[in-house]
Amino acid sequence: MSKVLNKVLFLLIILDFIFIPLYPKTPFLNINETFVAIRLEDFLIAITYAVWGITTVSEKKIKDLFNDRLNQAMLLFFFIGLVSLFSGIFLTQTVVSSKLGFLHFIRRVEYMMFLPITFYVVRTKKQLFTILWILMLVVLGVNIYALGQQYLDWPVISTTNSEFSKGLILRLTPGARVNSTFAGHYDLAIFLTSVLVILTSVYFGVNKRNRIWIIILALLSMGILILTAARISFVAAVLGMFMVIIMLKKKKLIALFIVILLMILIYPSQLRDRLVSTITVNILNLGQRYSAQTNDQRLRSTINIPTLAIKTSSTSAQTSTFATPSGKTATDITPGEPIDTTQLGVYRSFEIRLNLEWPRAILGFLKNPLLGTGYSSLAITVVKDRIDSIAIDNDFLRSLGEVGILGTIAFVLIIIDVLKRLRNGFRNQDKFIRHLCVGVFVMILAFLINAVFIDVFEASKVAELFWMVLGLSLASLKFNT
């Protein structure tokens, strides 16, 4: 019975590794008050968890599970999350919908539980390699689909706004960025960052025949990463790969690495333009700015009154609308913003974080420093007259705002424990496992770099894969003991 359950569980985990990254984010069940939907993969995950639960009970492993300090840290994180949610609903009353808050909490549990499950399921080196080979094929599939979107007009499913997230089948418009099956270019970019970092490390741990496949896959992944034009993920990937080279003491490769990096930066691409704009607009504050065309525009750009009436006139064309008939300037541009569309995108990307999203999280933290204001409390704002969801785009601030200093410390403890275990793996007798541990160790650091500007631990596909890969790498440390 136990053997059969373990086989079923292993197959389910393989299915998760295939299904989660490859199945588009098509909604299955919509939920009121949010445009985040329940998808088919959630049912697959629920089945996996149910089978895991039955297997654990039948093998009498529950005590072992609770004795593990990493599992204890995760349970504590969930406990503090629940206390924070309770506080957010009944004490600070910042969780507007308790149902939504609870779903946000369940989402964290759903993602993180992949670590102990994958750790539990993978028991042999053969199982590890089976999953890794499947993952390589999955990465290949993700990259090929991204190329199809870019050059062959393949369908795009996106969740970047409330309309798209209804499951609309879209096509990439000129200037739009590929997202493959990840429904958002940032999500795809973070996935590729993790892939590149791990591949760089694993490359030195395999034989020459396999190295060719790794090089092909890494080059393809880097190409797609450039197509996403995600600056922070690109920086994280570059720093991560550089860190791997240093940690593995392959210093001779640094020069080659720098040459490749320079070639990427010189070659004209949207990524290069956005990186340059980051320096000119965000850091040096340069670039031609839009000036107010009317006195009303000037006044409006200095005040923030959501219910303010718009000045209109039947005889004058000088209304408050900032649209320009030329089509060269964005119709919703406001005084002080860059006129160039690339610069405008980069400017807004940072300003929204700095002036809207991050202050919300800081206010949540200040309101209740110990517990934050609860899950789902920060990600709300008012768009026109409707309460809507926003991201925080900084996972450190989001954590402090949602679960306070206590929840954040619990989360940090989980990461520290995983890092310490992986560091022990650096001394593993098996060369491949040693390199896998280095790659996953740096992948965590790359994730944390991404977390400065993106909510990586809430990005469903990416977060699920993150915890699965951690479970997989920690499982590999069991083989020699």
Partner: protein, 189 residues
Amino acid sequence: MSRIIFIVFSILLFIYMIWPQPLKIADFKPLPNSFKSTLDGDTVQVPNVSAYFSNNYREFALRFYKDNYQGAVKLPFSPYRLNYPPEYSFIAIKKHTDTTYLEELVYPLKGSLFVNGFEPYYENGEPKYWGSSKFAIGESVFDTKVTLRLFPSPFWARFIVFLGIIASIIMLKKLFLKIVFNKRLLRNL
């Protein structure tokens, strides 16, 4: 030593959290020389909301309610101020609230008072935007409208949260020692 600090902290936190606090908006005084709004949405439609027309501007109104709140709670320290973007008033007060500023006076882990102000004119009389107008109530004309919303918390919720915080701190310390210093036993807690 750390055990004593923790026990003292727990006792102080417990006293602070169960300390009485205003439970209804009527426990707060009206602004000086003001007229209480009887408009829809400013009375009974939204819980614990009241609004006042007056000539009191932001700094005065905030200082007034900060002192008022501290007086009602009777703690030796005042609540702190958090400044929100005006559009958040749609969530904190009610939808379509006219606003030029929104601040919150907070006693963390107890309750808070949102103070929303609508000031169509600067204090020097200059209009802030096209179409600025004063508030005409009967024969009186006022410069500003201040809307308050109180968020008190029930005693049982504070008690449960207190237990949750204490349990979390104890377990966090145990795990911190285990994970960071590889210590198995806990001596102090």
